[in-house]
């Protein structure tokens, strides 16, 4: 989706705000939001829920306000909670629950992570060193192809292996496992002759994002 979240290359977003000795959290409610999102077994789609926060609110909200908003929206969408429950605070049985993580399970979960790389044989469509063009796509759903790469030519630098395709997996559609590559774009290919001839941007691109150039 061509949303405000897809910010690479935008200008005039203001000066950097650097906080020295920044704490991990700035308020107790942030701790709780982070941990609830971490611990709750929600279906995929949390990133998309953040992507679709209206642009003016997206820019105004703090990071964990965005998390909170997206978290509530995702649970509502999947019937894990209801609006009535949010308003009254009185729980009714959920149609969808998910797995509960207990305190005893947390240490193991903290080091486990997800298996992202897929142990399946899928032929790569591209080879290292090959020139490719980022396809011009404008899906209204979640995508990890940054807008600034569209139509631009780069070079395959590395094949990371086979990963689920986030664009479809995030919608609970076919996971479409396919090769993910590191594609090097020269800064001048992305931004024109004003950019440094020494600089470049590496972007991770699935097979479905690119075509031969």
């Amino acid at each position: 989706m061509n949303g405000i979240h897809d910010m690479g290359g935008m200008q005039d977003m203001g000066p950097l705000q650097y906080e020295k000795n920044e704490p991990v959290f700035h308020a107790d409610w942030e701790r709780r939001v982070f941990a609830m999102v971490w611990a709750t077994d929600t279906p995929p789609g949390s990133r998309y829920q953040r992507d679709i926060i209206p642009p003016d609110e997206y820019l105004r909200m703090s990071y964990y306000e965005k998390w909170l908003t997206a978290f509530v929206a995702l649970m509502l969408k999947h019937g894990m909670i209801t609006r009535a429950e949010l308003e009254t605070g009185k729980p009714v049985p959920s149609t969808r629950k998910g797995e509960l993580i207990t305190a005893a399970q947390v240490p193991a979960e903290l080091t486990k992570g997800e298996t992202l790389i897929r142990n399946v044989t899928v032929a790569p469509r591209f080879q290292t060193g090959q020139r490719v063009r980022a396809r011009n796509m404008n899906p209204i759903t979640h995508t990890r192809q940054p807008r600034y790469t569209r139509g631009k030519i780069g070079t395959i630098e590395r094949d990371h292996g086979v990963f689920d395709f986030e664009d479809t997996a995030s919608q609970q559609l076919d996971k479409k496992p396919q090769h993910l590559y590191s594609v090097r774009f020269e800064a001048r290919a992305l931004w024109g002759e004003e950019a440094s001839r020494h600089d470049c941007v590496y972007v991770d691109m699935w097979d479905d994002y690119i075509e031969p150039a």
Binding site: M7, Q17, F34, L59, R60, S62, L100, S182, H198, D199
Partner: protein, 233 residues
Amino acid sequence: MTTNRREFLTGAATAAGAAMTPDLSHAQQHDHEHQAVPSDPTLRVKALESLLVEKGLVDRAALDAIVDAYEHKIGPRNGARVVARAWVDPAYKQRLLTNASAAIAELGYSGPEGEQMLVVENSPKVHNLVVCTLCSCYPWPVLGLPPIWYKSAPYRSRAVIDPRGLLREFGLQLPDDVEVRVWDSNADLRYLVLPERPPGSEGLSEEALAAQVSRDSMIGTAKVAKPTARVPT
């Protein structure tokens, strides 16, 4: 909204900074239809947590354990140990650059947002910088949770189009002929910069080296400072 956008953005960023009292007065003035977070997140979040606990979706003690881990155990000291080990052990460095996730796991670090790692090495001719233009992707097991600036609009927007200008704001001026490589963590990979070992650090122990390595040097917005303390024996 359009008349004072800069002021508006600065206000939002400031609110997200040290004081962290989310400034929602703008939202109230502008009569937002979509507003999903009322003015006091504290009460809202408490109510939500109670509801989820009662529904059996979360366990309060588990939440406490998660917060404790990310506040006290999972942070940039982990990454600093990885970097220091790579500086003193060439075989480890080789493993780190060829199979980062496994090499990092050798030191006991793994978990969410660190499953597929790539370590990129700085040199006198190459400087690496990591960003997530789409959101906030960051290698949690080695760096912990990202600072606010990393997740902010100014950083995400500029890192790819004006990395040198951005780095100057961090106080890092790179020579024109150094190649700046920006890594957009847009998909499933997470990146850690292996900074250059600073001059004058030859006699330092691995532990003392790790103490020199800053979080920012592993994102690529800083270099590792020259050690000033006396070299321990």
